[in-house]
Structures are given as C-alpha cells and as structure tokens.
C-alpha cells in the first residue's frame, strides 16, 4: 500500500509539474519570437535617400504585424517603409514598425 501511495504521489507530482511547464511554455515562446534578433539595414527611399532602420528578425512561425516609419539618413524626407515582414525599429523615432519572419 505504501509503495502504491508513493508511486501515485510521484506520478501525480510529475504530471502536475509537466502541466505547469506546458502552460507557461507558450507565453514565453511568443515573447521570445517578438523580440527576435536585431540587425541594422539601409533602406533606400524613392528619391535616392537612404534610411537606417533596425530590423528584428523573428523566429519561424511568428506572425507579421504592420509597418510605419523609419528615420532618414543625411537629409531627405521620411517615408513609410514597406512591410516585407521585418520589424523596423526607427533609429531615432519612437514608433515601432513591422514584424518579420526569418526564412
């Protein structure tokens, strides 16, 4: 009886911990995916302007969001960056931009 009790207790404890780990697994994965790996790219504007933008390359399986602005380099006007998939974080602006998916 004692062995049965100990075995049942051990198995239930294990399953409970597995459940907790599984439950806490998804939110952590999403956050990590959104953070991604930063990189700096030069985005060429329509008038020959160059813009520096920080791109966050996300893990496969993450979803794209949307895009807005990037900052300009050496004058010129700011233009809306095309949402090809990456997170464009303006180097001096404050608005976040799009998300991307790593190939």
């Amino acid at each position: 009886m004692r062995r049965v009790f100990a075995a049942v207790l051990a198995l239930w404890s294990t399953l409970a911990i597995v459940a907790v780990l599984a439950w806490s697994h998804h939110p952590a994965a999403t956050t990590a995916a959104l953070q991604g790996t930063p990189a700096t790219v030069v985005v060429r504007g329509p008038n020959g302007t160059s813009q520096l933008a920080r791109v966050l390359v996300l893990a496969p399986g993450s979803t794209a969001v949307a895009s807005t602005h990037s900052s300009t380099v050496g004058g010129g006007t700011a233009t809306a960056a095309t949402a090809t998939g990456g997170v464009l974080v303006p180097t001096s602006a404050t608005q976040p931009v799009a998300t991307t998916r790593a190939s």
């Binding site: 004692r2 075995a7 911990i17 780990l21 399986g61």
Partner: protein, 186 residues
C-alpha cells in the same frame, strides 16, 4: 500549432520529483539514526525510507528515458550512463550520473548485507551524503528550472534540514542514550 517539447518537460519534472523523493528519504534515514521520532517509529521510518528510495530511483529512470527521448539534446545511452560523456554540460551531467549510480548501489547494498556485513553496510551508507551533494550540484548546474532565486531556495530547503539532522547525528544522541540506559540499569 507550436511544438510542445514534452520529453523536455518530463525530464525536468521527473528530475525535480526524484530530487524531492531522495531528499525526503535521506531525512527519514537521518531521523532513524538520530532516533528523532523515538524508537517505536523506527519500523515505519525504515519502511518509508526504503519505499521513497526505490520510488526516487524509478523517477530517475523516467528522467533518463525522457532525456534520451528529447530530440533537442541528442543524448545517447553513453551520455546518460557514463560520466563526462555528455555533449552538453558534461561536468554537471557527470555529477548526476555518479550520484545516480551511487544511489543505486546504496539501495542494492541493503540486500547485500550478508556478504558485506552489517558494519560494512553501515560504512557504505555514509556515501549517501556524497550522493546528495552531487545530486544538488547536478540540479543547480544542469537544471533549467533552478536558475537564480529558485536554485537558492531549493538549496536552502533541502540543505537546511539535512545539516540540522547531520548535526544531531554528530552529537551522537543514540550512543549517549545507550550509555545512559546501560548506566541506569547497572
């Protein structure tokens, strides 16, 4: 649907449960040798001590199978059975492997008393302290769930009562009680 690393979760969970069971078993063994709960409870203590040891060893078996089944770790049999053969954190894994073999030997040594003698068995049993230290080291260095505060908390919760019981054991309460009883009956 994102991938759920079930084998990895099972490895972590079974490792934690095994640690808990074996720590508890050690406390019961020390409670026996210090006569902490009196002489009448010795039989029950021994029964639970042995049950928890074998249940803990079974959980270690589950821990090994889960690690072997995990597709990310790529651990082979040698990596989980031979010290320093693991490709990831070999030192930390070796501590767990040596502790596991020690615990298995200690559990089996009880059945080998007729060959090694009661004194030999009792001397061998002191290796349980080494096994505990190695298990704790393995948990803190290889354990994914024991970084930072949780690791310190686990160490405190497991070491605290252990050190207290060892201190009681060192005070040699059983022998002093025996001497007092013998003197009273002289």
């Amino acid at each position: 649907m994102s991938h759920v690393p079930l084998a990895w979760f099972l490895a972590r969970a079974s490792g934690l449960v095994a640690f808990g069971l074996l720590t508890l078993s050690m406390w019961l063994g020390l409670a026996m040798s210090t006569r902490l709960l009196g002489t009448r409870r010795q039989k029950a203590l021994l029964g639970w001590h042995r049950t928890l040891v074998w249940t803990g060893l079974s959980m270690i078996g589950l821990h090994l199978i889960s690690v072997l089944a995990d597709p990310t770790l790529h651990f082979g049999l040698a990596a989980v059975l031979v010290p320093f053969a693991a490709p990831w954190h070999p030192g930390a894994i070796a501590a767990g492997i040596v502790a596991g073999w020690l615990m298995l030997m200690l559990a089996l040594s009880f059945r080998a008393r007729k060959w090694i003698g009661a004194r030999g068995w009792r001397a061998l049993h002191y290796a349980s302290f080494l096994a505990f230290a190695l298990v704790l080291g393995h948990a803190l260095t290889a354990g994914s769930d024991l970084k930072g505060v949780s690791g310190s908390l686990l160490a405190a919760l497991s070491l605290g009562p252990t050190l207290w019981l060892v201190f009681l054991r060192l005070l040699d309460r059983p022998r002093k009680r025996l001497a007092a009883a013998a003197a009273a009956n002289a």
